[in-house]
C-alpha cells in the first residue's frame, strides 16, 4: 500500500528473535518494580564493564528514587557518575561515550527534565545512525508519571514527543519483570532507548522477577489477559487500572500491554482489534497526538472492517498535570473512568 510506504517503514522486530528470558518461576523472586530496575542495572554493570550510569545525585546518594542505591560503593565514582545540573550535558556526553564504545545509562531526575536535554536527545542521539551509520547504544531512564501530587513539572509522561523524533526506541514497562527485562534489553540495544519508568509503580507494584539473566524483546507487546468481547490496549500505570476493570467487569476483556512504544507492535494491536472489534486505548499521558492517537489510527486504518464500535481513548485531557489531589484525580485516568469506558464500549 502506498500510504504504508510513507507511513510504516520500521520493520516489526521478529517475534522469534529473543525467546530467552521468559519468566521461569523456579528462579524468580518477588520484587518491586523499583528493585527490578536496580537489579537489571546492577546485573548489566557486573556483566559488562562498558556499562556506566550518569545523572544527578545518583552516586553516594543513590539517586532521587534510590534506583542506584549501593552502586557507588560497588562500582565506584567513575561508573556511577554524579553530574552537574545539566541535562543536555548528561545526554550529549552519553552520546559521545556511547560512540566510543561505552554503554551509558542516563538518569533524568524526573522525566519532565528531558525538556532540558531535548535537543541532544532528538537531534544528536536520535538521528546519528540514520545520518552517519554510527550507532549510539545508550539508555535514558525517565522516572515518569503522576498520581502523588508531583504537580505540573514532576508528573509528565513525555513518550509521544519521542515517537515524533525518529531514531529513538521507547519502552514503558508496567510490571517488575518487564522493567527488568526491558532495561537489560535496552542497555544491550545499539540504539538510544528511552526507558519510561512510572514512579507510581516503583513501590506500589510487586511481582515475580526472574533472577539473573532476563531480557524482554523490544518491540513486542504482551497479551496480559486474553478476551473476546473487547480489547484494552494500554501500557504503564494504566495497565493496572485495565486489569482491575477486566477483573471486575463481567465480560471477556482482552488486555494488551504495549510495553514498547517505538517500534510499536502493530501486529499485536491489529490482531486484537480484528478479533474483538472493540478497542479502548488507555494511557496516563495527555491525549492530543499521544500514543493512543497513533494506536487508534493504526486500528482505524488496518482493522476498519472488523470494528464493531468506535475506537475509544481514555487519557489525561490536554492540560498540565495539577498538584492538588482532587484536581489531579480529575485529570489522570482513574479506575472508575476505566470501568465506565469499558462498560460504555461493551454496551455499544
Amino acid at each position: 500500500m502506498t500510504l504504508g510506504t510513507k507511513d510504516q517503514t520500521q520493520p516489526i522486530p521478529g517475534r522469534e528473535a529473543e525467546e530467552m528470558g521468559q519468566v521461569s518461576p523456579e528462579v524468580a523472586r518477588m520484587s518491586s518494580y523499583l528493585e527490578a530496575i536496580s537489579d537489571a542495572l546492577r546485573h548489566e554493570m557486573r556483566r559488562d564493564e562498558t556499562v556506566f550510569c550518569l545523572g544527578q545525585d545518583i552516586g553516594g546518594f543513590g539517586g532521587a528514587f534510590k534506583v542506584t542505591d549501593g552502586f557507588f560503593e560497588e562500582f565506584g565514582a567513575a561508573r556511577v557518575l554524579d553530574t552537574p545540573l545539566a541535562e543536555n550535558a548528561i545526554i550529549g556526553t552519553a552520546v559521545g561515550a556511547a560512540i566510543e564504545g561505552m554503554k551509558p545509562v542516563c538518569e533524568m531526575q524526573f522525566a519532565d527534565f528531558i525538556s532540558c536535554g531535548f535537543d541532544q536527545l532528538v537531534n544528536v542521539a536520535a538521528k546519528m545512525h540514520y545520518r552517519q551509520g554510527i550507532a549510539v547504544p545508550m539508555v535514558v531512564r525517565l522516572p515518569s508519571g503522576g498520581g502523588f501530587s508531583g504537580g505540573p513539572f514532576h508528573s509528565q509522561n513525555p513518550e509521544a514527543w519521542f515517537m515524533q523524533a525518529p531514531g529513538l526506541k521507547v519502552v514503558a514497562p508496567a510490571t517488575p519483570a518487564d522493567a527488568k527485562g526491558l532495561l537489560i534489553s535496552a542497555i544491550r540495544d545499539p540504539n538510544p532507548v528511552c526507558f519510561l519508568e512510572h514512579k507510581g509503580l516503583y513501590r506500589a507494584v510487586r511481582g515475580e522477577v526472574p533472577e539473573g539473566e532476563h531480557t524482554v524483546p523490544i518491540g513486542e507487546a504482551r497479551v496480559v489477559r486474553p478476551g473476546e468481547e473487547m480489547t484494552v490496549i494500554t501500557y504503564g500505570s494504566a495497565l493496572h487500572l485495565a486489569l482491575r476493570a477486566a477483573d471486575e467487569i463481567d465480560a471477556s476483556i482482552e488486555v494488551i500491554d504495549l510495553r514498547t512504544l517505538v517500534p510499536l507492535d502493530r501486529e499485536a494491536i491489529v490482531a486484537s482489534a480484528r478479533k474483538t472489534g472493540k478497542v479502548l486505548i488507555a494511557h496516563e499521558a495527555t491525549g492530543g497526538a499521544g500514543i493512543g492517537a497513533e494506536v487508534a489510527s493504526l486500528i482505524s486504518e488496518h482493522a476498519f472492517e472488523h470494528l464493531d464500535a468506535p475506537v475509544r481513548r481514555l487519557t489525561a485531557p490536554d492540560v498540565p498535570i495539577p498538584f492538588s489531589p482532587p484536581l489531579e484525580r480529575a485529570v489522570l485516568p482513574q479506575f472508575e473512568d476505566m470501568k465506565e469506558a469499558c462498560d460504555e464500549l461493551l454496551s455499544y
Binding site: A64, A86, P152, F153, P322, F323, P325, P326
Partner: protein, 371 residues
C-alpha cells in the same frame, strides 16, 4: 556586611564608599528580623503540616537561608518585579504575601496563589509583582531577564530580581541569561545562593571554579557576601538594585550560606558532615541578627522576644485560615489552560523605609497639588 569585608573582595562591584543608600532605620532592622522570623516559623509550621500528612507531595524549605531572600527583596521598590525560588519564602513575605496563602498553596487548597493548580514553592502572587518559579532550574533567570528587558525597552526605572542555587548555575540556561543580560545591560539582579549543595551534590562536582567569578566574563560585576548576614545581603542587593535602576546593568551576588535542612523533607542529608552543620548552626542568620540588634543597636531583648511571639501568633492564625481553606473544585482542573486576556502584574509591598518615605513624599506632593 562590614565595609572592610566589601573592600577586600577584588571583584566587588559595589564601591562601599560611594554608598549613598538611605540607611536602614531602627524600624527597618526590626522589620528584617520580623520577616526572617516569619519565614522560619512559617516553614516550621509547614513542616509540621507535612508530617501530619496535610501537605501532599514533597516539602522544601530554606532553613538557614532566611537572610538572603529577606535581605535581597527588602531592597526592592513596589514597582520592581521578582521571580522567587524555592529557598526564598522570605521574599514573598517582603512583598506582602501572608503565611496563610503560602500554607494553603502547600496544602493544595483553593486559598493558595495557584488555587491548587501548582504546589510547594511553585507560586508567586501576580498581584504582588511576583512570577512563580517553574521546577526546571534556573529557567526563571531568563524570565527575570525578560521582565528587565521590558523595563529597558520602555525606558522605565524598574528592576527585576531573581534567585538561584549554585547548582543551577551548571545549566545552560544560566549561561544564556548571564550572557544576554551582559550584552543588553539589563536591569536585573541575580542572587546566587551558594548553600554548599545541589540536592546531595557538593560544590566540587557542580563546578571547578566558583561561578561568581564568571560575572566579569559576562561584562558585569559579581561579588560574594556572607549570606547569613541580612544586612550584608541587603547592602549588596540595594547597591545592585540601584545600579540596575540607573541603567548600569546586572549584578551577580553570591550569598554564601548553608542549607540547614535536607533538600526536601524526605532527605535525611546523611551526606552532610555533622561538623559542617554544627559550624553553620553557630552562624544562624536569625540568631546573629537578633544578637546584633540587642547589642549594637540596643534593642531590648524583651522587644525581640515579643516580636517572636507576635510572629508565632500570626503564623498560628494563618495556619488556621489555611486549614479552613477548601480543597479546589475538581471542575477547575480542566480550566484555564488558555488566557482570555492579559492583565498586568500588581505592585508588591516594599517595607524598606526608603520606599515608605518616597510614598509619603508622593502623597504629600499630591496633597500639596490638591490644596
Amino acid at each position: 556586611m562590614s565595609v572592610s569585608e566589601l573592600r577586600e573582595r577584588p571583584d566587588a562591584v559595589v564601591d562601599p564608599e560611594s554608598g549613598g543608600q538611605p540607611p536602614l532605620t531602627g524600624e527597618d532592622r526590626l522589620r528584617l528580623l520580623r520577616l526572617m522570623l516569619m519565614m522560619r516559623l512559617s516553614e516550621e509550621r509547614a513542616l509540621n503540616l507535612y508530617k501530619q500528612g496535610k501537605i501532599p507531595g514533597s516539602f522544601y524549605d530554606g532553613c538557614g537561608q532566611e537572610a538572603i531572600s529577606v535581605g535581597a527583596a527588602f531592597a526592592l521598590a513596589p514597582e520592581d518585579r521578582l521571580c522567587i525560588l524555592h529557598r526564598d519564602l522570605g521574599a514573598h513575605f517582603v512583598r506582602g504575601l501572608t503565611p496563610d496563602r503560602y500554607l494553603a498553596n502547600y496544602m493544595g487548597r483553593s486559598g493558595g496563589p495557584t488555587g491548587g493548580k501548582d504546589g510547594n514553592m511553585h507560586f508567586g502572587d501576580p498581584g504582588l509583582g511576583c512570577v512563580g518559579m517553574v521546577s526546571m532550574l534556573p529557567d526563571m533567570a531568563l524570565v527575570a531577564s525578560g521582565l528587565a528587558l521590558a523595563f529597558k525597552l520602555r525606558g522605565e526605572r524598574r528592576v527585576a530580581m531573581t534567585f538561584f542555587g549554585e547548582g543551577s548555575t551548571a545549566n545552560g540556561q544560566w549561561h544564556e541569561a548571564m550572557n544576554l543580560a551582559g550584552i543588553q545591560r539589563l536591569p536585573v539582579v541575580f542572587m546566587l545562593e551558594n548553600n554548599q549543595f545541589a540536592y546531595s551534590t557538593p560544590n566540587e562536582l557542580e563546578f571547578a571554579v566558583d561561578p561568581v567569578k564568571r560575572a566579569r566574563t559576562y561584562g558585569f560585576g559579581g561579588l560574594s557576601v556572607d549570606g547569613n548576614d541580612v544586612e550584608a545581603v541587603f547592602a549588596a542587593a540595594a547597591e545592585a538594585v540601584e545600579r540596575a535602576r540607573e541603567g548600569e546593568g546586572p549584578t551577580l551576588i553570591e550569598c554564601r550560606t548553608m542549607r540547614m535542612h535536607g533538600h526536601g523533607a524526605h532527605d535525611d542529608m546523611s551526606y552532610v558532615p555533622e561538623e559542617m552543620l554544627a559550624e553553620w548552626r553557630d552562624r544562624d542568620p536569625i540568631e546573629r541578627w537578633s544578637e546584633r540588634l540587642a547589642g549594637e543597636f540596643s534593642v531590648p531583648p524583651k522587644r525581640i522576644k515579643e516580636l517572636r511571639e507576635e510572629v508565632r501568633a500570626e503564623v498560628d492564625e494563618c495556619a488556621e485560615r489555611a486549614l479552613a481553606s477548601p480543597m479546589p473544585d475538581p471542575a477547575i482542573a480542566t480550566e484555564g489552560v488558555f488566557a482570555n486576556e492579559w492583565r498586568p502584574l500588581g505592585n508588591g509591598q516594599a517595607p524598606w523605609s526608603r520606599w515608605k518615605q518616597r510614598e509619603a513624599g508622593a502623597a504629600e506632593d499630591q496633597d500639596g497639588a490638591a490644596a
